[in-house]
Symmetry: D2
């Protein structure tokens, strides 16, 4: 932490700050500038957030954090990208681009099985599908719940594809973990710390979506919640942030991919379906995500988007998805990756 003193701060102001820094267990170091003093506080990293309280002291202009408040998630902690096994044959974080595809919501046995077969045929390695749905409106379809989980398990049996599905409540997390291969934390729950701690205690890979107003640093702090509970298998998913632009549902922040690549050893994927909200833009943004260095993609596919109970406008039909996968292979090649 760097404590910046005001230009007009007195010697006494400064001495009280130095005293307080020592009291908190850090060693102060003063730089006398031409117009003001600047104080570095040296010592153990993780507790340093407490130094923010100095901002209310007399003569203090502001506090500048130097160190990142996450540790287990950082690339300084672990140089090589973490490889996470999703099934006997599928792992993410290596050379292979992993595509997770399927409907927004599980709606019926026919729908999910048809979809699972179609995405597998096109080359997807993971099946997605929501059984518990967090919906903005209480009047919208809330998911098939446990019955949906059973249908996902059936689809896995049929196709061999591991399954990713969302967890929305600590109370039902274990139930979901009985059926799912990967537990998804949605954007709206990305700072639901009770839920993060819960999935941190389960033995399943977690796919953590970035919140709509979440900085990249906060994203890693949320991952840190899961890691610090003992679960090292966290996949980060960029799915669009909220900005002033309304031509797309969200603004897919693809630069988060190289930024995260530098900051963390965790694998990173992108979700162009939620990121754009419009099926026309899904394929180009999927290509772009792979070009930017993503380890995988999450794509919504629905056999009949016009009749989907949720997110129809951003879902690809199976035929469009298959054609996207064909082109995607070329971009994976260009990126020296496999698909």
């Amino acid at each position: 932490m760097i404590i910046v003193m005001k230009a007009g701060a007195t010697r006494q102001d400064r001495d009280e700050v130095l005293e307080r820094i020592k009291e908190l267990g850090y060693q102060p170091h003063v730089i006398h500038g031409t117009t003001r003093d600047v104080i570095g506080a040296i010592g153990d990293e993780r507790g340093k957030l407490i130094l923010h309280s100095l901002e209310s002291m007399h003569g203090v202009e502001n506090i500048v954090p130097i160190l990142k408040p996450y540790k287990l998630a950082s690339r300084e902690m672990k140089r090589e990208t973490t490889l996470i096994r999703l099934s006997d044959t599928v792992a993410i974080g290596g050379d292979e681009i992993i595509v997770m595809a399927g409907p927004c919501s599980v709606e019926s046995e026919e729908q999910i099985l048809e979809c699972a077969l179609a995405v597998k045929a096109a080359g997807a390695q993971v099946l997605r599908g929501g059984a518990f749905k967090p919906r903005t409106s209480p009047y919208s379809f809330q998911g098939m719940e446990e019955e949906g989980l059973k249908l996902l398990a059936k689809a896995r049996e049929l196709t061999g594809l591991p399954v990713v599905t969302e967890v929305i409540n600590p109370e039902t997390a274990e139930l979901v973990a009985e059926y799912a291969d990967i537990l998804q934390i949605g954007a709206r729950n990305s700072q639901n710390f009770a839920l993060l701690k819960k999935v941190g205690q389960l033995k399943r890979p977690v796919l953590l979506k970035r919140g709509m107003a979440m900085s990249i640093q906060e994203f890693l702090m949320s991952a840190e919640y899961i890691l610090s509970e003992g679960n090292q298998q966290v996949i980060l998913c960029e799915r669009g942030i909220r900005t002033f632009e309304t031509a797309t549902r969200n603004t897919l922040d693809l630069s988060a991919i190289p930024v995260l690549r530098g900051m963390t050893h965790l694998p990173v994927i992108a979700d162009p379906s939620h990121g754009t909200g419009n099926y026309h833009y899904v394929a180009p943004m999927a290509y772009a995500a792979v070009a930017a260095g993503a380890d995988g993609l999450m794509i919504e596919v629905h056999p009949d988007p016009e009749r989907a109970t949720s997110d129809g406008p951003q879902s690809l039909k199976p035929s469009k998805f298959a054609s996207m996968m064909t082109t995607l292979r070329k971009f994976a090649d260009a990126a020296d990756r496999r698909l």
Copy 2:
């Protein structure tokens, strides 16, 4: 819903859309424009979100929602502002401006009792204090939990002030409701629908904070979750949204107050402490919130902000709070309200 057809859409495109609207139970009405057709879908309001799926049909340019997707929260449903009783003597939503004050976190018996006495003496009508703390970092202080709740109850006994404290998990919601007079849903849980449903089933007023990336309409949809479970006592709290500006912790969106006033019958308060993140700005923004029409305020007060375990930089010392309350009375008068 209005379905806007593309300029080049064919008659067949249009007919298929008309068909699909009827299939979903709505009555279509076509307006033939100079360059394109526009179709209104007439019928029951709440299910209309399903019409969004038409956006993936051929020839459809986009879907424009006309009706607001909330109902119980709307002022059309109930003209007069809802008055919510917080204790035998305190109610919010009427003429009186209600000030909820206290520390960010309950830290010790001494701290919370001292604080409760101080804020009461200055004129606050409700005591705030966090026992379960949702913190961005897993390494930050997470609250005193049940012990904190007991100390809040003690402070209420001592002062007679009703108590507001945060609920962060459906599992502990009932525990919190045993101690608290008002259940707070924090910004990060504002779309934690499992939690919203849970507090909707409890018999306690709920103070719902706006999420950092939450539109005003989504804010009312979250309130609708609580209302539709049977709990009609919801207080809305504007606490700042996330924008590009970094001079303040968040951007306190005071225009949300008159906007909400027009849209909903629920009382609305503002939290200038979280909204600005800096104690220098708390008093002017508190005055501004009352001038804009707020029914109340939530203010962080701490006897020793430099030693606060959380949010020290935005906490007022009791003396500053008392002086703020004196000036606030003048603004309440100007607004034809009481304090």
Copy 3:
């Protein structure tokens, strides 16, 4: 400037940074932290932006600016708020709240004279009105140009009110200055540096609006452009920033008022008409701005908003404006100001 080295930076990396700092004329000062070094660069403030180029050096994590890059605009430079004379009887920056009111655009002699008389009668001290209009669409009304300026002068003659109007081009700035008492720089031109320099050379007070994506610091840098050309009469105007919220046209950032109050000696006003884009919200936000500490307001008033060529939806009718002014006086009193 603080240069933060990477955790793994070598001694050679550090020495090269130290060398480069000296080469640029600054004196380096190293703090050896537990995991990395941090280097302060001491010396003259204003040139320090050049130190940002060190960010591309090997071993450098990032550069943290300590000092604010504006000087003439800062309160450290000048303690008391600048009082700017707008006419023989009107000055802004003192006790009096200054209200600038009038139509978005000058549309006809009748309209501007009627409006000028009405706003004067209600207590406004300055007449606003656009003659050169910066419009998003080339197909929208672009203003009456010089003829509009003449009508504004006529309205001033009639009422004695000084006139504020927008300058949109360095080429026509002098023409506008012949007629106007205050030169307005609109939000879209807030970083049109050629225009800022030009009005910095003229002898007229300048009303500088904040850009839609402009940080408060950048706002002061734009003011600094005008000040550094020799014109010390700059009035800052908060008029809303662009955020994700669409219920209002912009998000009026009232916290900018106390923030600017601390950072600069320049007077600060608010424009709730553009800030909200909806006449229903203008009065409450005007009250809030004064409560937050604004030195003045800019309000759009139109005799017939339904027929206005621009910004009708956010314009008050003269009767509503008069009633707003009556209530505003109470808030000015509460703020210990005059109106």
Copy 4:
């Protein structure tokens, strides 16, 4: 335009709206909904913005625009992408990906010639370099002005590369057009309508950057200003929007590329240097832009970024640029384009 009436609007309210629509030259068409009426206004597109003024009428809830307010820029106007010639051998908008590279600012003859040779050798087809620099701070280097233009012309002579450079003022636009092959309008001037009109009257291709808070629709409206003055050669450049995220200088909105592709016939490029502000992220985001469908790129290259007078941290060294170009070719291939 769709005029949505309030649920409680009276028949008289509605009749007055109908009257006013006719008065403005449009034909009203009423849809009677279950809870409210909705009125379509049929007639000529471009003047419809005037209908916004109806929002202040009694009984009107809000106005929903149906038609896009740009026309010349729209793909409905012209189906095939516009091909713009930049020199005898270079054109943008066809199969070839066009890379514009060079320093942020022209600093000296040696620097610009060295840079021009290097970027040409690596395969860039256009040289960029700033002579007039719009800088946030008046104390930063403002460019070499005409001398810089002469050096750019010299570099063109030496290499044969056409030159793109920024215009910041209508007064000097013609001077720049004497030297430059492409006139750049920077993000801060993207709604400087006087400048847009001026370059619309010149006979040079214009590279228009998106403003930091500019919606895609407004971006096309700014292009429309240039087109409607008679200059049909406009290249759109996505260069990052301002969001809450601070890990990158801006948020490069790559989804704008497919969105613009659908809306307009104008070629679209991306500037990952300004978009990210950090040379580490330039190459991945350049690849991503091409994968998303960009027609070209603008990249900052500097022989000695640590000594650059501006934007050093985001500039590539020539060797890194050359290596980026090698990989870029693979992505161009994958996108069925040439480089």
